[in-house]
C-alpha cells in the first residue's frame, strides 16, 4: 500500500493536477456529501427522530433567516467582545510574565509550579467561582477566556524566549539597553514563532471558554442562545449558532497558522 501511495505521490508531483480535482479532495467531498445525504433522508426514513437531529435543509433555511436578525448580531457582538477583551488581557499579562521568567531564575522557579498546575489541570472548573466573584455578566466570561488563553500563550512564549541567543542579550546589555528595550527588541521578535503557536492554541481554548461560560450562566451571547434553543428543542437554530462559532474558531486558527508559516520562513532566512 505504501508503495502505491508513494508512486501516486510521485506522479502527482511530476504532473500536477489542477487542485480541485486531486484524488483526496474528491474523496473528502464525496464523504461530506454522503454524510449530508444520510442526515437529510434519515429522519424521513424513520431511522432517527428528526426533532433531535434536524436536517441540513432545515439548518440552511434557519441560517438564512437567522443571520439577518438583530438577535443574532447582538449575541455575536457580545460574545466577540468577551473573547477579544479576554484575549487581549491574557496577551498583556502573559508576555511580560514570560519575559520575567526568562530573565530571572528565581522568578521562574517560583512561578513555574502554579503555572504548570493550572496549565495542565482543567482550568474551566474555575468557572463557578469566577461567576461568584464577577457575576453572570460579561466580566466573568472575559475572565474565563483569559484563563483559557493565558496558559498556552505564557508557556509557549516562555519556551520561545528561552531559545534566544544569549550572546544577543549580553551584547545588548553591554551597549546599555534598558529592560524594556530588551523585551521589545530582542525577546519578543525571537519568540514570535512560539508566541504565535501559543496564540493559536489559546484561540481554541478561548472560544471554548466563552461558550462554556455563556452556557453555564449568562443573560446574552452566542452560548446563551445555544442554551435557549437547546432547551426549546430548536435543533436547526442551535446548529446554526454552533456552525458560526466553529467557523469563527476555524478561520482565526487558520489565519494564525498562516502567520506562523510566514514567520517561520522569515526566521529561516
Amino acid at each position: 500500500m505504501l508503495n502505491t501511495t508513494e508512486a501516486a505521490n510521485n506522479k502527482s508531483a511530476a504532473l500536477p493536477l489542477p487542485w480541485p480535482f486531486s484524488r483526496s479532495f474528491a474523496i473528502s467531498l464525496a464523504s461530506v456529501a454522503i454524510f449530508f445525504l444520510i442526515w437529510q433522508i434519515a429522519p424521513a426514513l424513520g431511522w432517527v427522530n428528526g426533532r433531535f437531529t434536524s436536517q441540513p435543509s432545515q439548518v440552511l433555511v434557519a441560517g438564512w433567516t437567522e443571520l439577518g436578525t438583530a438577535t443574532f448580531w447582538n449575541a455575536a457582538r457580545i460574545s466577540f467582545t468577551e473573547f477579544a477583551l479576554g484575549f487581549a488581557l491574557s496577551l498583556a499579562v502573559a508576555l511580560p510574565l514570560a519575559a520575567l521568567m526568562v530573565t530571572s531564575k528565581i522568578a521562574r522557579y517560583m512561578i513555574d509550579p502554579p503555572l504548570m498546575a493550572l496549565y495542565i489541570a482543567p482550568s474551566l472548573i474555575l468557572l463557578p467561582i469566577l461567576i461568584l466573584w464577577l457575576g453572570i455578566g460579561m466580566a466573568s466570561k472575559v475572565a474565563v477566556v483569559f484563563l483559557g488563553a493565558f496558559f498556552p500563550i505564557a508557556v509557549n512564549t516562555m519556551a520561545g524566549m528561552r531559545q534566544v541567543d544569549p550572546k544577543l542579550l549580553t551584547m545588548a546589555r553591554a551597549f546599555g539597553a534598558s529592560r524594556s528595550r530588551l523585551f521589545y527588541s530582542i525577546l519578543i521578535p525571537s519568540a514570535l514563532p512560539s508566541l504565535l503557536t501559543g496564540i493559536r492554541l489559546g484561540i481554541g481554548r478561548g472560544v471554548l471558554g466563552v461558550i462554556v461560560g455563556e452556557l453555564y450562566a449568562a443573560q446574552a451571547g452566542i452560548g446563551y442562545q445555544l442554551s435557549t434553543y437547546g432547551n426549546s428543542m430548536r435543533i436547526d437554530l442551535l446548529l446554526v449558532y454552533a456552525l458560526v462559532v466553529s467557523t469563527f474558531g476555524y478561520v482565526l486558527t487558520e489565519f494564525v497558522r498562516l502567520l506562523e508559516v510566514q514567520v517561520g520562513k522569515w526566521g529561516a532566512k
Binding site: 500500500m1 505504501l2 508503495n3 501511495t5 501516486a8 484524488r23 483526496s24 479532495f25 474523496i27 473528502s28 464525496a30 464523504s31 461530506v32 454524510f35 426533532r51 433531535f52 437531529t53 531564575k105 522557579y109 517560583m110 512561578i111 513555574d112 509550579p113 502554579p114 498546575a117 493550572l118 495542565i120 489541570a121 482543567p122 474551566l124 472548573i125 468557572l127 463557578p128 467561582i129 461567576i131 461568584l132 466573584w133 481554541g204 472560544v207 471554548l208 461558550i211 462554556v212 452556557l215 453555564y216 452560548g223 445555544l226 442554551s227 434553543y229 437547546g230 432547551n231 435543533i235 442551535l238 449558532y241 454552533a242 462559532v245 466553529s246 467557523t247 474558531g249 476555524y250 486558527t253
Partner: protein
Amino acid sequence: MTAKFLKRHAPLILGAVSMIGICVIWQAVVDLGFMNPFFVSRPTDVAQEILTQAEDGQLLRNIMESMKSFLIAISMAGVVGVGLGLLAGWFRDAEAALSPFIWFKYSAPTIAFYPIFIAFLGYGTPTIVAVAFLFALTPIYANTLAGIRSADRDLVRAARAFGARPLDIFLKVALPSSVPIVVAGLRLGVGRALTGVVVAELFGATAGLGYAVAESSQRLQTTRMMASIIVIIIIGVLLTQILSWAEKRTDAWRVQPDAA
C-alpha cells in the same frame, strides 16, 4: 555544602516556597480582614473540608463517579482514536474521507452540541462520557496519524529491499515507531477527557467532582467548592504526570541518532 545543596535543589525549594507562600498569603488576607471569606474561603477551612469529606466517604464517591466516566471516555477515545488514526495514517484515501469531520471537530467547541447530547442520551453518565470522548478524540487521532506517517523512510526502504510485504512493514516498522507519538497523543487526550468530564458534570449530573463544584456554587458554599476544585486540579496534575512518565519509558528504547 549547604550552598551547593540549595543550588542543586533550587527549583524544588523555590517551587515549594511559592506554593506555601500562596497559601500563607491567601490565609493572611482573609484572617486580617482584607477579603471576605465568603468569596475565597481559607486554606485551613478548605483542608478541613477535604479531610471531613474524605472521612465520610463523600470525596471518594465523587472521585469514583468522575473517574468512572473518565475511564470509559478515555478508553473509547483511545480505541476509536488510535483505530481511525492507524487507518488514516496507512491509507491516504481513508484520511481524505475522515479529514473534513476531524477539521470540524477540531474547530467546533464540542460543548455547543451539549443540548443535542441531552436529547439523545439524557442527563447523567452517558452524556458526560460522550462529551469527554469527543474532547479527547482529536489529539489521539492526530498523533496516531502523525506517528504512522513519521516512520523512518530508510527503515521502510531497507525492509522493502529485504522483501517485506506492506503488512510486514506496517506491523514491524510503522507501528512500533509510532508508539511514542501515540502515547504523547494519549497524554493530551487524558487532560482533555478530564476537562470534558468536569465541564459536562458542571451542566448536568447527580454525582462527581464537577457536580460537587456546581452544586456548592449554587448553595454559595465557597469552602466546599474550593475543596472540590483543588481535588480536580491535583487529579489533573497526577494523571498527566503518570502519562508523561509512560511517554519517557516508551521512548527510551529508541536509539538517539546523536548518541550513536
